[in-house]
């Protein structure tokens, strides 16, 4: 299925033998009257995601304004599932699609960890960084949930759909769904691809020592009702990344599905004026 009309898709071979799938909306749309709109936005998915299942909503929104690329990491072998391997997959894919031109890197959840690490290690590649529901070092709260997930995965996988729905969305969002809508959502989550290796990786994430190496303008997006990567985790990113601003959306962890347009508008506003907000700004939300 096309993620957005006119988008190309294909695969990229990485030097370690992994194969990354991509969508690319090139050529970029004609610029909007506001902002130069010349950026290329690259989207990095999180645990258990793909370009399509993570970004089916956000990609088409960004693609109305920017050339947008979304990657699907290769997780088919255990050796492909590490922060270094993901950084390699992302870096080589971006070089292949964009050459040496720096990009806007957007990562969600574990994808945010990968995006931060890439920005810290290859500052020349990243013009602007956006972390969404990311974190730097896994805390006890996350480990406890990870333990529970593992227990269910091994003993009663039929319950994972409900458990992950419960963890991924805010109370208000779940309450806004019809009964049919809620069961469709649960079914969709239980049908997603195996994430066991990534869940193992999540246990040991610690890039806290690299935050200081991130120099580009960074928008740290926290989800106010996130049970998986709490807003406090994003606040630590905001604390550790020098040139960052902070924006909080009252959503669950899956803001990319729960409130994609508010995330899109936050990214768009930040790209239009990354220097409008001095580093350290807590950006206030606009109200309808």
């Amino acid at each position: 299925m096309s993620i957005y009309p006119g988008t190309t898709e294909g695969v990229l071979e990485v030097s370690d033998g992994s194969v990354v799938q991509y969508f690319d909306s090139e050529p970029r749309p004609t610029s909007s009257p506001l902002g130069k709109g010349g950026e290329t936005v690259v989207l990095i998915h999180g645990t258990g995601g793909t370009a399509l299942t993570s970004y089916w909503a956000v990609f088409p929104m960004l693609a109305t304004k920017y050339r947008t690329i979304a990657l699907t990491f290769d997780t088919s072998k255990p050796e492909f599932v590490s922060l270094d391997a993901f950084v390699k997959q992302a870096r080589e894919s971006i070089e292949s699609r964009c050459g040496t031109a720096p990009v806007v890197l957007v990562g969600h959840s574990l994808g945010a960890v990968v995006a931060m690490k890439l920005a810290a290690e290859h500052p020349e590649m990243v013009e602007t960084l956006v972390t969404v529901a990311g974190w730097a070092r896994t805390d006890s709260h996350q480990l406890l949930r990870n333990n529970l997930w593992r227990r269910l995965y091994e003993t009663n996988p039929g319950l994972l759909g409900e458990f992950m729905t419960f963890c991924s969305y805010s109370r208000n969002y779940l309450n806004s769904l019809t009964e049919d809508g809620l069961s469709a959502l649960t079914e969709k989550i239980s049908g997603s691809r195996d994430r066991s290796d990534e869940m193992q990786l999540n246990r040991s994430v610690d890039i806290s020592g690299q935050l200081a190496d991130i120099e580009c303008p960074t928008l740290v997006v926290a989800c106010g009702h996130d049970h998986m990567s709490s807003p406090q985790q994003s606040q630590l990113l905001f604390g550790g990344i020098k040139n960052s601003c902070y924006f909080e959306i009252p959503s669950g962890h899956s803001v990319i599905h729960e409130r994609p347009s508010e995330l899109f508008i936050a990214i768009r506003d930040f790209l239009r004026a990354p220097y409008k907000y001095p580093a350290g700004t807590v950006i206030s939300r606009s109200h309808a």
Partner: protein, 503 residues
């Protein structure tokens, strides 16, 4: 009535947009304004549409002014009486009623280049003003069909927006022409008591479930005592609508999702195969307005209701003849045939610089810079004019965006004694950017005819073809930069000062 008073602002219309601007100006110091209302009361659409079942398709906590929140909405989707009462409540609390002239229909407005003043002629006298704002709505003048013989009908005939409450439909044979937003609300109500109801459908709408319920007293209390909770709900509803925009850009995942919702609803509610095929739309979803209803399909399934998916060819003294030659005997005919949306009647009454009519400037479809100002028409601001409608969202958001823009422009005009006019080039560049964005949307490519597209030029002139947030980012903050700004000439300036000192 004619006076030498020169108002800062005359607003035409006191519906949601005109009233909203009036409230904002009333809260602004030092701006004199008056509102001309052709009817004898405020409310616009919500005053005129009193048909049984009339309600809003946008949740009330979003379909209300952000500057006048109402914690007491009785349900998710309020009905017409409650919305009208809300508007009255706002008007009274904000003390704007004394500014409104009722039974004052604007018949003509002309720009006087020498004095830099609009002269507004109305059925309640002549008004002179620096700034003219039309807030006359885009769904306010009923569109009447020109079916042959329509004047021959001996029974009762009326448009849904001009409901004749003296007519008792109980036990009668009723015809309803149209299956749009008004029709699907009124049909279930008529079906309750009619002897026989015949619905004449030109094209079937897509319909999705109406997730409606009453608010509990605890919720209302929460909204009252904790306004942030109401604000959070309002934001949630806004972003929910905003997130649906890619449907209109024909993004497959979005189309599949909404289509699945609509067709599942249809399958759940319509079991008769013949009716199912009649009400299955034959164009892409979103090309016409997507409607929300839980009781429309069940009404069509009733014994006393018949849906005819053929056009009405002729009206006779005793009923109508359809395209398949059937003669349907009727006691009353209800026209749910929509509104004059693309060729706005008010445009024929406004003459700008050089006496040029707004309708001439718009002869191939409405166009306005920032969807608000028009070249050749200095110090004129159009609310809910070209490209301000929405496929999915609350029009109040668009209204409030325009209120902010116009209020800032008025303050500038007042402070600088300025005449603002947009050049043709800047207006054209803006329209080009709107047209570029309308390409590839379901409205222009979805395979349907709708009131969104102007039949004279095939341009999408009624809808905003981008995110609502983009509308606010582009058109919500006034800057004099794109405008040709002229100061009122010295002579006119002196006269202006004298008049001001007389007030």
């Amino acid at each position: 009535m004619q006076s030498n008073t020169v108002h800062d602002v005359v607003i035409v219309g006191s519906g949601f947009s005109g009233l909203g601007l009036a409230v904002t100006l009333a809260r602004t110091e030092d701006i004199s304004f008056t509102v001309l209302e052709r009817a004898n009361n405020i409310g616009g659409t919500w005053r005129d549409n009193t048909y049984p079942g009339a309600a809003c398709d946008i949740q009330s906590h979003l379909y209300s002014y952000s500057f006048a929140p109402n914690p007491d909405w009785s349900r998710v989707y309020a009905t017409q009486p409650e919305i009208l009462a809300y508007l009255h409540d706002v008007a009274e609390k904000e003390n704007v009623l004394p500014h409104i002239h009722f039974n004052a229909e604007m018949t003509e407005a002309t720009w006087d280049e020498v004095d830099s003043i609009w002269t507004v002629t109305s059925t309640a006298g002549i008004f002179r003003t620096r700034v003219l704002v039309t807030a006359s709505g885009h769904l306010s003048d009923p569109k009447m069909p020109d079916t042959p013989g329509i004047n021959d009908f001996a029974g009762k005939i009326f448009h849904s927006a001009r409901w004749d409450h003296d007519v008792n439909l109980t036990g009668k044979r009723i015809g309803v022409v149209g299956t749009g937003a008004s029709a699907i609300q009124v049909i279930p109500e008529i079906a309750k008591s009619a002897n026989k109801l015949t619905v004449f459908q030109r094209s079937a709408p897509y319909i999705i479930p109406r997730n409606d319920r009453e608010y509990t007293d605890a919720e209302k209390g929460l909204f009252r005592k904790f306004p942030d909770a109401a604000q959070e709900l309002r934001d949630e509803l806004f972003w929910g609508n905003e997130s649906r925009f890619p449907q209109r850009r024909q993004v497959p995942a979005f189309i599949d999702q909404i289509k699945d919702t609509a067709l599942t609803h249809l399958k759940n509610q319509v079991t008769d195969p013949e009716l199912y095929h009649k009400v299955l739309p034959d164009y892409e979803i979103g090309c016409k307005r997507i409607l929300i209803s839980n009781d429309y399909y069940p009404a069509l399934s009733k014994e006393n209701v018949d849906l005819k998916s053929v056009s009405v060819e002729q009206v006779t003294e005793s009923g109508v003849i359809t395209a398949d030659g059937d003669h349907v005997e009727l006691d009353a005919l209800v026209l749910c045939t929509g509104f004059e949306a693309s060729d706005l009647p008010i445009a024929y009454r406004i003459s700008g610089r050089d006496g040029r009519k707004l309708s001439e400037h718009w002869s191939t479809g409405g166009k306005a810079f920032a969807c608000t100002t028009v070249s050749g028409f200095p110090n004129l601001f159009v609310m809910l004019g070209p490209n301000t409608g929405l496929g999915a969202g609350s029009i109040i958001y668009m209204v409030e965006t325009q209120i902010q823009y116009i209020q800032q422009a008025i303050s500038f005009i007042k402070a600088e004694l300025a005449v603002l006019e947009i050049s043709t080039e800047v207006e054209d560049a803006f329209i080009d950017s709107v047209e570029e964005r309308s390409r590839g949307t379901v409205w222009t490519e979805g395979g349907c005819a709708s009131w969104y597209v102007d039949p004279r030029s095939n341009r999408l002139t009624t809808l905003w073809p981008d995110f609502m947030s983009e509308f606010r980012a582009e058109n919500g903050t006034f800057s004099p930069d794109p405008y040709q700004v002229r100061n009122i000439e010295a002579g006119a300036r002196e006269r202006h000062h004298k008049e001001q000192s007389r007030i």
